[in-house]
Structure formats: C-alpha cells, structure tokens
Amino acid sequence: MAVAAAAARVWRPSRGLGRAGLPLLRLLGARGLARSHTHRWQQQRHFSSLDDKPQFPGASAEFIDKLEFIQPNVISGIPIYRVMDRQGQIINPSEDPHLPQEKVLKFYKSMTLLNTMDRILYESQRQGRISFYMTNYGEEGTHVGSAAALDDTDLVFGQYREAGVLMYRDYPLELFMAQCYGNVSDLGKGRQMPVHYGCRERHFVTISSPLATQIPQAVGAAYAAKRANANRVVICYFGEGAASEGDAHAGFNFAATLECPIIFFCRNNGYAISTPTSEQYRGDGIAARGPGYGILSIRVDGNDVFAVYNATKEARRRAVAENQPFLIEAMTYRIGHHSTSDDSSAYRSVDEVNYWDKQDHPISRLRHHLQSRGWWDDEQEKAWRKQSRKKVMEAFEQAERKLKPNPNLIFSDVYQEMPAQLRKQQESLARHLQTYGEHYPLDHFEKQVPPNTLRSQAVLEACSARLLHWAGSLVSPFSTLSYTVFSQGLGEGTSGTGHP
C-alpha cells in the first residue's frame, strides 16, 4: 500500500485518477509499474564499458567539448599529382611509368588524330554538312591517359567529351563520321545527335544527352561485374558541372555502400558551358567530395598524360582487388567552345584560352617529352600531320556520300519486338510517304520499302533483330563469352555458392 502510494506520487497521474486511482494501482501492484519501467529501459543496449564513449550507430568518433565548425579548405586544396612539368620533363623519376616507346607513340597519335578529326568535323558543322559537333581540345590527355591504363574489356560510361577513349581503342574514323553524319554505316542507326558514340565491341556504352545519368548506371554495371567475378573495372567519366547533379551524389553513395569496382573520372575543365567553377561549387572541387562518401580520391594534372595514366592504373588495380570505388579528379581546361552552338568569347577572354592552348597543352607537353627522348622529331611530326589529315579527309568524304538510314528504322528498337501500335504508325508513315513523298528528300535515304511488303519487311526485321540479339547476347560488355557462361562463380554447375 505504501509502495503503491509512493508510486502514485512518482507517476503523478492526471487529476481524474484521484482516490479511485489507488485501488487501481493496488490492482496493478507496484510490481506492475516497476515492470513497465524496466521494460522500457530494457530496450536500450547494455554497455559493458563504463567509459563515457559515444555509442551512436551513425558515426565512429570521439566526443569534443569545444564548439568548432570544420573549415572547408579551399585556399589550399587537395594537391594535384603530376609526373611531367609543363615542358614534358619527368619531375620525380620514381613516378615515371617507364612505358615502351610504342605505347607512348600510340598516346601521341591518338591525341593528335583526335585533334585533327575535331578540327575537320567542327568546320564541317560550320559549313552545314553536319548538324552539331563538340570538340575535345585541351582534354585529350584525360581521355588517352585513362584509356591506356584500362583493360580493353573494361566498360566505359561517358558523358560526351571522351572521344579520345574510343580513339585510343581504335574506333575507326569511318564510324566516328558515320555517327556524326547519321548515315547508313552508323551503328546507332542515325537516331542521335552527333558525338553520341557507342560501341559494344569496344565496351563503350552509347552516350546520352542528359548529364550524369550514366553515373549510377556505371555503379550498377560495376556491381554486376563484381558478382560475375569478371575482374573488370567500370570507368565513368563526367564533367565538374555534371557532378552537381543528384545522380552523381547517388552514384558515389551507392558505389561506396555497395562496394563496387568503379573508377569515377571527373574532367574538371573549368566550365560547364558558360558557368565557371566558382558558380558550380564552393567546396574544394570534386575530389574533396570523395572522402565524404568514404571513397579514396585523388586530384591529378589532366594535361599530364603520365599522371593520368599512373593514377588510373593504380585505381584500377585496387578497385578490382579490393572491390571499392575510386575518384580521380583530372584538372584540365576546355580550350574549345562548349559545342558548335556556343561562342565562348561571350564569357571568357581570348587571352585565357590562348594561355592554355600555347602554354599548357597535353599534346605539346607529350611532344616535348617524346622529342627529349629522341622518340619523335619535326620531320615525323610533319609527316604524321599530313598523314592523319589525309586519313580524316578520306573518311569524311566517304561519310558525306553515304545515304541516311531507311525511315522505317524510326520505329524499330523502341522495344525488342515491335508492338502493334508502333507497327500501325510505321504503316501510316509509309502510306504518307507514298502519297506525299515528293515533299521529302527521300533520295538521301536508303530506299523506302513499298507498303504491301511492309509486313514481311517488319517480320524480317523482327527475325533479324532476334538473331542479332541472340548473337549480341554472346558478346557481353565484359567478355567475349556470354554473361552466364562467364559467371561460373555464381554456382551454375561449379563449386560452392559462389558468393564473392
């Protein structure tokens, strides 16, 4: 009774309880109340240590009793790794990758061939021959240095300014041109704007226009590679502007939490169209964000092809071995305009551009290096310039002459099989062109199939699409064997449960 009364005082129940409350409490018993006390507290963990350490599940850290905000360090940011100075001389010999002459010449030829192709295709847009173009001026080092450090079968997700990766992987000029012209040789069937390249054989996923969407996709591909024990890395390129997108945050966080073998390669070229980096972010660039996600990060001189190579090589080795993401921020400069729709003199000075073009260009730096090694000279330079220009011009002239793809291809590949509604739309277009064809430049397109054979044509296309898909499934992005055959570690017939 006394206990119950004491308990009542502790509890301070509402006025409504009053004297009627005591019998009630007696009913429950003081033990009943005590039980409910213990019950609630029992839900907290018991700590074996009497130390006053934080126990929060959300962070592993010590207490501090001084109020202090962490200062973001933007005055003296993450240092920039480089191997060569601006004159192409190796600074620290222990960082020299000691690449064979052949390989370094391939670097040089890829970068210069890309540069030559850029000049000609940019010009062709100005002349109205293609609709649009984006150059890679100044960033060739980021493409080639990183591509060279990867295996040929490593999967590449790009943004739109990574043509040098394809160039290094020997994507033929004919196919670059075909995509820009949207002609019948285009593997993409002429559906996208120029520079939206893709190549299954070379493990380069087709470019799309929305920015940063490739970042979480690359992470998913890396997860699948890990599960398949493919010993492959996925590399994902994006600019410092695209890194502001939510998809970038999503990709980084997923890669870290799901332990994916991926290299995030950010080309920080100073501008997102007209937006300078000072308006893109306030922190220390992109590299500083990596540690926030638990990602190992480095900043490199993107105009130093050996620095890019070394960083990517080491990141690749560790990403595959340790199943964790790496972030490389390659500092560089976008010498050209954003695209043919842009005139950058509207937002930056010609002097600024000239500095980078003349004083800190990845191609000239490598050339100085090659020359100092006796691997290149002015005569070879002259000959190569002539040869590369000839190659590009030949491909260009051929691409111009080819027809555009058949308009029927507007409707295929939307789904794997063509649904009835799309077939009806396709037939409707065919009837329209039969009646009004004179108003369309049909001579520039592969010959239109007559409508009464359209159904059989569609069946044929569907069959060949199925055949191609079946054949295509034998060439996975990761190897020349089909995915399921390759991934024997998943318990299909071989040892164990295969959980990596």
Binding site: P13, S14, G16, G18, R19, A20, G21, L24, L28, G32, L33, S36, L155, F157, L187, K189, R191, Q192, H196, G198, R200, V205, S208, P210, T213, P216, Q217, V219, G220, A221, A222, Y223, A224, A225, R227, A228, D247, A250, G251, N253, F254, L258, V414, Y415, Q416, E417, A420, Q421, L422, A465, G472, P477, F478, Y483, T484, S487, L490, E492, H499, P500
Partner: protein, 355 residues
C-alpha cells in the same frame, strides 16, 4: 469529488462493457487515466475509421499450372521473386528495406535463401535505385528494383523515361536494359492520403520503350511479374497495396507466365464494356453484378492488365459488340489513362462505322 465519482462510474461501465482489456493495456503503458477513452464510450455517434469499400473477388483455382497454395498478394510476389532468383543466377533484388523483408513483406526470406549479394538494401535514393538497376541490366544481368511507394517514383522519372526507355533505341540496339524490372506498391489503401496512395501509370503510359503492368489478384500478380522479369524490355510492375493482405486465393507454387499486353475479359456481356485495372477491377465487377440485378444491364468487364503497350484489339472488339464504354480508374481524371483508351476507341469506332 464529482469528477472522481464520474470517472469511477465510467470505469465500472467500461468493465461492464468488457472493454477493459485494451484499457488495461493502455494503463500498463503508463498513460494517465482518462487520456484515451475507448471509442465505444462516445456511443452511437462514434465514427469508425472507414476503409475502402470493395470486396476482393478471387478467381477460380487454376488447374493448369500444378500444385497451388493459398497466398495473398504479397506472398504471391515473394513466390515470383523466389522462382526468379532460383532460375536465374544473375538476378538480384534491391531497394530500400528489402533486406529484412520489405515494408510490405514482399521479400521475406529471400536474403537468407539467396545471400546478401543478391538481396540487399540500397541507400535512400530512388534515382540511384533505378540508375543502378539500369546499369546492372546493361551488363545482361537481371535487376529487380523496388521503389517503396509509387508516390516516390518521381525522382527516378528521368532515369526511367530518358534512359531506361530509350536505351535500346538510341544505341541502335547495341545496348539495352531489358532485364530491368521496377516493382512498386500502388494505389489507394484508405489512409494513405496524398503520398501513399498514388497511381502514376498515366505518366509512364506516355513513354514508349517501357512496359507498365498492374495486376488485380495474387494469381495475376505472380504470372505477370514473372513475365515482366523475363521480358526483354524494362518493365514497371505496380502492386495494388490494399490487395497485399486483402486478396487471398490459390496460386501455383511453380513459375508460370501470364502474357503482357493482353487484356482479359473476365465477365462477358452485351450492353456496355467496363474497363479497369488493379483494385478497381473488383469494384467494377461488383458494379456489373449490381447493374444486372437492378437495371437488367449486361456488362462486359475487362481487366486491362498491361497499361503500356495496351491491348487495343480486345477493348475495341468488345466496344464494337456492346456499343458503349466506361473506363474507371483511381488516378486523377484529367490526363488519366482513361482518356487514352476512350480516344483510341472512338477513333477506331468511327473507322469501324465508316466500313
């Protein structure tokens, strides 16, 4: 004094009413007495919480797919996922909270059975979930992504519409993400309000390249989900959440497929065609029965099942027969999918008349 007497008397009334069970529990939790009164204390004027009024009508037990088991809708989903992971070693399931079994228990037991690399939680980020799923599918592996509520699918809208739907087309069939399936709880549940009740199928119906599917029952759900997972195009599978527990029927244990883009005539009739999908199918079935009984009207009821690409022929064939069409759905009226159905049917109907 009066208050004490009143509360004591009231307590006695409660005991008499046998309502002191929950009352005891409330007291045990330490709540001050009088804070919460039993609902019945308010008498006849008391409002019971209203839940959506419809009756789930199970279909007859299927005989052609082997042994069946009583399952509700979430169990049918689990069964489909179990079958998929067993058959396809590349298949993985991921999303928020799927590891412990999911907020609607659709993935219970799967992590233990198939491993933590195959059934796993992701960070709380729908655009990441779908983007990640696309990436898995690009390599040829099977990706089954869960979006916790269809109301939260919008951050992933860019990845679905601009990426997943267009992957094959824009690459000239060099790449595709056909082995991606996105599952999401969908539709009214009674108390969900603005953000746990949405039916966003109309937004996705406007996007060629994906498939959108809504089942009406456990048997339909398992067969349609298996078809979505095996389909070579990215699919969105909306699961009517109110049916997760409310819908119970016999469902085959082994895998089976129900074809996509095929509507089902579930009641034949001659006077009017009624089209619905998901939960509303059961409402419409009741309506058809009532119309027959009270108005002598013979209704043909069609479950659309696949929203995109939808089965134009079945619906049009029915309307040509009956001459009248009514489409009923939960989503907002303006721009809802009923407008696509009615405009297509009218166009075809006029053409039919011309002939």
């Amino acid at each position: 004094m009066a208050a004490v007497a009143a509360s004591a008397g009231w307590l006695l009334r409660l005991r008499a009413a046998g309502a002191d069970g929950p009352w005891r529990r409330l007291c045990g939790a330490g709540l001050p007495r009088g804070f919460l009164q039993s609902a019945s204390a308010y008498g006849a004027a008391a409002q019971r919480r209203q839940v959506a009024h419809f009756t789930f009508q199970p279909d007859p037990e299927p005989v052609e797919y082997g042994q069946t088991q009583k399952m509700n809708l979430f169990q049918a989903v689990t069964s489909a996922l179990d079958n998929s992971l067993a058959k396809d070693p590349t298949a993985v399931i991921f999303g928020e909270d799927v590891a412990f079994g999911g907020v609607f228990r659709c993935t219970v037991g799967l992590r233990d059975k198939y491993g933590k690399d195959r059934v796993f939680n992701t960070p709380l980020c729908e655009q990441g979930i779908v983007g990640f799923g696309i990436g898995i599918a690009v390599t040829g592996a099977t990706a089954i992504a869960e979006i916790q509520f269809a109301d939260y699918i919008f951050p992933a809208f860019d990845q679905i519409v601009n990426e997943a739907a267009k992957y094959r087309y824009r690459s000239g069939d060099l790449f595709n993400c056909g082995s991606l399936t996105i599952r999401s709880p969908w539709g009214c549940v009674g108390h969900g309000a603005l953000y746990h009740s949405q039916s966003p199928e109309a937004f996705f119906a406007h996007c060629p390249g994906i498939k959108v599917v809504v089942p009406r029952s456990p048997f339909q759900a398992k067969g349609l989900l298996l078809s979505c997972i095996e389909d070579k195009n990215p699919c969105i599978f909306f699961e009517p959440k109110i049916l997760y527990r409310a819908a119970v029927e016999q469902v085959p244990v082994e895998p089976y497929n129900i074809p996509l883009s095929q509507a089902e005539v579930i009641r034949e009739g001659s006077d009017v065609t009624l089209v619905a999908w998901g939960t509303q199918v059961h409402v419409i079935r009741e309506v058809a029965a009532m119309a027959q009984e009270k108005l002598g009207v013979s209704c043909e009821v069609i479950d659309l099942r696949t929203i995109l690409p939808w089965d134009v022929d079945t619906v049009c064939k029915s309307v040509i027969k009956t001459g009248r069409l009514l489409v009923s759905h939960e989503a907002p009226l303006t721009g809802g999918f009923a407008s696509e159905i009615s405009s297509t049917v009218q166009m075809k109907g006029l053409k039919h008349k011309e002939v």
